[in-house]
C-alpha cells in the first residue's frame, strides 16, 4: 500500500486563470477507491475529533472501500447537511486531516476530497435523502439563508419541524452564493443543496429584510423558535486617505458583483471595473478569493499583506493555488494612503514596509512600520479584504443583548430573548463556513431539546 496520497486532478494554472470553472476536478471512482484504501480505519479515530460536525469519517471511508456509496452518503449526511460544500471549502488541513494518524509519518488521508466525491456522486444519482420524521407541529423561523441557517433548517426539518427561512437577497446560500467564487464552489452545487432542503419541506422566503419587513419580536410571536444566522456584516476599511476614491472597493463588493451577480460573464448586466493593476489588501480566504477572481478578469493582481507568508490566515491550499496562478504576493507591506487624480480615480498607492515583532497575547506577531521604506506603487484598483464589523439591521426593534464587540451574545446558542437562538458569524465575527454550520447544528439540537 502506498504511503503518499492520491493526487486529485486540477485544471492547469495557465488554463484556469482564463476561466471561472472549478479548479479541482475531484476524484474519479478509481482514485477515490485507491485513496479510501489508505485509511487504517482506526478504532479510536482521531480525525473525528477534528471535525466540527463529527462526521463518522472512518465509517464513510470504509463504505467507499466497500463500493457502497449510498451508505457512505447516508453516513455523511447524518452529521452534515451540506457535504458537497464542506468537501470543497472546509479547511481540512486544520481539522480532520490534521489529526489523521497517517499524517504523522506521511500524507494524511484526503478526507475532504473523499467527502466531496461521495457528495458529487450522490448529487449525480439523486441519492438525496428526503426521509423525515412526521410533522411535530412546531414552527421555526430562520433569519438568513447562509451556511448556519441552512444547516439549522436541515436538521430541524429532518426532525419534523416546519421551517421558514427569511433571506434578504434574491438567492439563498449566503456567503456560499455571494462570496465563495465559482471556481472553488460551483453555484449549481449550492443551489442543489438548497433544493434538497426544499425537498425536506423547508420554505425559503427571499427578498425579505428582517428588521424592516418583519421584526424579531414579530417572528417570536409567529413561531415557536427563531434562529438568527444573519452573517458577518459590514466590510471594514482602513480609514486612510483616498479610501473613498473611485476604484477602491471592499472585497465583499467585488465578490458579490462577480459571484452573486455574474459580472464575470460577458453579457452580464451588473458591471465590474476593468482595471489594469489591482492591489488586494489582506491575507484571509476572502482576500484570496477576491484576488483570484480579479486575476481571471485579466487584471494584474497583487496581494498585499502586512505580515509574512507564515502568518497568512488563508488556507494553505488557496495560497498555493493563488501563487500558481501568477498572483504577486507583496508581503510585509501595508498601504499608507491612496493617490487619486482630479476625478477621484485611483492612480497609485503609498505603501510602507513592515517589520515583524514578537508574538502578542493573542499569539499573533506584532508589526511596526519601517518609516524609511515608504514608496509609491502604480495601480488603478485597491480592494480591502480586512474583515467585517457587526451589522444590526436584522435586530432592529428587538432589545437583544450584544457583546462588547457588538456581536449577538449567546449561551448554548440561546440569546437573551425567549426562544431566540443565534449562531455563525453574527455570533463569532467573520469565521469559516464549517464553524457556521457547526453553530447551526448546535442551535438545532438546542431547539429540538427545548421544544420536543
Amino acid at each position: 500500500m502506498s504511503d503518499s496520497k492520491v493526487k486529485g486532478r486540477v485544471q492547469e494554472p495557465n488554463v484556469r486563470v482564463n476561466n471561472f470553472n472549478e479548479v479541482e476536478l475531484g476524484f474519479n471512482d478509481e482514485e477515490a477507491h485507491l485513496e479510501a484504501s489508505r485509511c487504517l480505519n482506526c478504532p479510536k479515530p482521531r480525525c473525528m475529533e477534528g471535525c466540527p460536525v463529527k462526521i463518522q469519517i472512518p465509517k464513510f471511508i470504509k463504505a467507499i472501500k466497500d463500493n457502497d456509496l449510498k451508505l457512505a452518503y447516508e453516513i455523511i449526511t447524518e452529521s452534515s447537511s451540506l457535504p458537497a460544500v464542506c468537501g470543497r471549502v472546509c479547511p481540512q488541513e486544520k481539522q480532520c486531516e490534521k489529526m489523521c494518524v497517517k499524517g504523522l509519518k506521511g500524507d494524511a488521508i484526503s478526507i475532504g476530497s473523499l467527502e466531496r466525491y461521495v457528495a458529487d456522486v450522490a448529487m449525480k444519482n439523486d441519492y438525496a435523502s428526503t426521509a423525515k420524521k412526521e410533522s411535530n407541529g412546531k414552527k421555526v423561523a430562520i433569519v438568513g439563508a447562509g451556511p448556519a441557517g441552512l444547516t439549522c433548517a436541515g436538521d430541524l426539518a429532518k426532525n419534523g419541524f416546519s421551517v421558514t427561512i427569511y433571506e434578504v437577497l434574491h438567492k439563498a446560500g449566503g456567503v456560499l452564493t455571494y462570496g465563495i467564487p465559482e471556481f472553488r464552489l460551483p453555484k449549481s452545487i449550492v443551489q442543489k443543496e438548497v433544493e434538497s432542503l426544499k425537498k425536506l419541506g423547508v420554505e425559503i422566503l427571499t427578498d425579505v429584510p428582517v428588521g424592516n419587513a418583519i421584526t424579531i419580536p414579530e417572528l417570536q410571536d409567529k413561531y415557536d423558535a427563531v434562529f438568527i444566522g444573519s452573517g458577518a456584516g459590514l466590510p471594514k476599511f482602513m480609514g486612510i486617505d483616498g479610501e473613498d476614491a473611485n476604484g477602491v472597493f471592499s472585497a465583499n463588493e467585488i465578490l458579490t458583483r462577480i459571484n452573486l451577480m455574474g459580472a464575470y460573464k460577458s453579457l452580464s448586466k451588473t458591471p465590474i471595473k476593468k482595471a489594469k493593476r489591482a492591489y488586494i489588501i489582506g491575507g484571509g480566504n476572502v482576500a484570496m478569493d477576491a484576488v483570484r477572481c480579479l486575476k481571471r478578469l485579466g487584471i494584474e493582481t497583487h496581494l498585499m499583506y502586512r505580515r509574512s507568508e507564515e502568518e497568512l490566515p488563508a488556507r494553505k491550499m488557496e495560497v498555493e493555488h493563488a501563487k500558481e496562478e501568477g498572483i504577486i504576493f507583496d508581503l510585509l507591506t501595508n498601504p499608507v494612503r491612496i493617490l487619486t487624480d482630479d476625478n477621484n480615480n485611483v492612480i497609485g498607492m503609498e505603501v510602507v514596509n513592515m517589520i515583524l515583532g514578537e508574538a502578542g497575547e493573542d499569539g499573533r506577531r506584532s508589526v511596526s512600520e519601517d518609516e524609511s521604506s515608504k514608496h509609491v506603487v502604480d495601480c488603478d484598483m485597491v480592494v480591502m479584504a480586512l474583515g467585517t464589523s457587526p451589522n444590526h439591521e436584522a435586530l432592529k426593534n428587538s432589545n437583544i443583548v450584544l457583546t462588547e464587540r457588538g456581536l449577538i451574545s449567546v449561551e448554548n446558542s440561546k440569546t437573551s430573548l425567549d426562544n431566540v437562538y443565534a449562531g455563525g458569524d453574527a455570533v463569532t465575527g467573520a469565521a469559516t463556513v464549517i464553524l457556521a454550520m457547526e453553530a447551526g447544528k448546535k442551535a438545532a439540537n438546542e431547539i429540538i431539546n427545548a421544544l420536543l
Binding site: V168, L169, H170, Y178, L205, T206, D207, V208, P209, N212, A213, I214, G231, G233, L234, P235, F237, E243, D244, N246, G247, F249, S250, N252, E253, T256, R257, L260, M261, G262, L267, S268, K269, T270, P271, I272, K273, K274, N343, N344, N391, E393
Partner: protein, 281 residues
C-alpha cells in the same frame, strides 16, 4: 416573481410601475427604498418607494430610464423577478411625527425626485402636518405627477429652467425668496440640486435633510458600494441612510463617485438597446 399591474410611461423618460408586494409595503414608511430586479440575471436597482396601498398590498414606483438596467426595467410586463424591501431608514420627520407637529416644513423636489417626496408629503398631511413643496425640473415635460402632489401639498411652487411652467429659474431661486418661512427643509433630487440647496440653506442656517441615491449592490449593508462621506466619516447609504443631514454630506465626493461605472454603464446601455430592439421586432 411579483405580479406587475402596470408599467406605464409617464414622461419622455420616466415610468410608473405598480407591483403586488404585500410583505414589502406592510411596514414601509416614506423615506425607505426597495431593490428591484427585472429578471434573474438583471442588475439590482435601488428605487425609493413612491406610493403604496397597504390594504391591497400594492407598491408603486417611479423611475427614470438612465442606463441599460432601467431601460430593461421599462420593458417588464406582467412579472418582476425580485423586489426586496423595505430597506434603509424611514424619513426622520415621518418616523417622529409628534416632534415635528409645530414645525414649518418645506420640501424641495428636483425632477424625478418628486417620487420620493410625494409619499412623505402625503404621509405628513395624513398625520396632521401640512407642508409646502417647491418642485423644479428642466422643462414642463419633466414635471411628473403634478395632480397628485398638488392634492397633498399646502402651497405648491413650480419652477423650470426654461420657464415653460411655473417660475423660470432653479429651485434655489424660489426657496431663497421664502426661506425665512421655514424651520426645516427636505431636499430630494439630483445630487447637484441637493448640493445647491444645501449651500443656500447653510447660509440661512435652515436645517436640511437630503436623500442620497448612490450606487448599490446588495442594499443590506454587506458590500459598501454606497459609501458616502457624512460629517467627515464614511457612511453606508443603504443602512445608515438613505437620508442624511444635508449640511454634513460631502456632495462633491458623491458626484464623483457616481461616475465609477460610467464607461461600463454606457457600454451596457448600447448593448441593451441592441438586445431589446431585437426582442421587440
Amino acid at each position: 416573481m411579483y405580479k406587475v399591474l402596470y408599467n406605464n410611461k409617464i414622461s419622455s423618460n420616466s415610468f410608473e410601475m405598480a407591483i403586488e408586494a404585500p410583505l414589502v409595503i406592510e411596514k414601509a414608511i416614506p423615506g425607505q427604498f426597495v431593490i428591484v430586479m427585472s429578471h434573474e440575471d438583471s442588475e439590482r436597482i435601488p428605487l425609493t418607494i413612491y406610493d403604496y396601498d397597504k390594504e391591497k398590498g400594492i407598491l408603486y414606483l417611479i423611475y427614470q430610464v438612465v442606463g441599460g438596467s432601467t431601460l430593461e426595467l421599462s420593458y417588464v410586463k406582467n412579472e418582476l423577478f425580485s423586489v426586496a424591501g423595505p430597506l434603509g431608514n424611514p424619513n426622520e420627520i415621518c418616523a417622529n411625527i409628534n416632534e415635528f407637529k409645530n414645525k414649518r416644513i418645506v420640501y424641495v423636489a428636483g425632477g424625478v425626485g418628486v417620487a420620493p417626496v410625494y409619499p412623505q408629503v402625503k404621509y405628513l398631511k395624513e398625520h396632521g402636518i401640512e407642508v409646502d413643496v417647491i418642485y423644479g425640473a428642466r422643462n414642463i415635460d419633466l414635471l411628473l405627477i403634478r395632480d397628485k402632489i398638488e392634492k397633498v401639498a399646502k402651497n405648491m411652487y413650480y419652477v423650470t429652467d426654461d420657464g415653460s411652467f411655473g417660475e423660470k429659474g432653479f429651485v434655489t431661486t424660489v426657496l431663497e425668496k421664502r426661506i425665512n418661512d421655514y424651520d426645516i427643509c427636505v431636499a430630494i433630487g439630483p445630487v447637484i440640486m441637493m448640493k445647491s440647496v444645501c449651500e443656500l440653506t447653510k447660509k440661512y442656517n435652515l436645517q436640511t435633510i437630503v436623500s442620497m441615491n448612490p450606487l448599490m449592490v446588495d442594499g443590506s449593508g454587506m458590500c459598501g458600494a454606497c459609501r458616502c462621506e457624512v460629517d467627515g466619516k464614511p457612511k453606508f447609504a443603504c443602512i445608515h441612510g438613505p437620508e442624511f443631514d444635508g449640511h454634513k454630506v460631502n456632495f462633491d465626493l458623491a458626484l464623483k463617485r457616481m461616475n465609477i461605472y460610467h464607461k461600463e454603464e454606457m457600454d451596457k446601455l448600447f448593448e441593451m438597446e441592441k438586445r431589446l430592439h431585437k426582442e421587440e421586432y
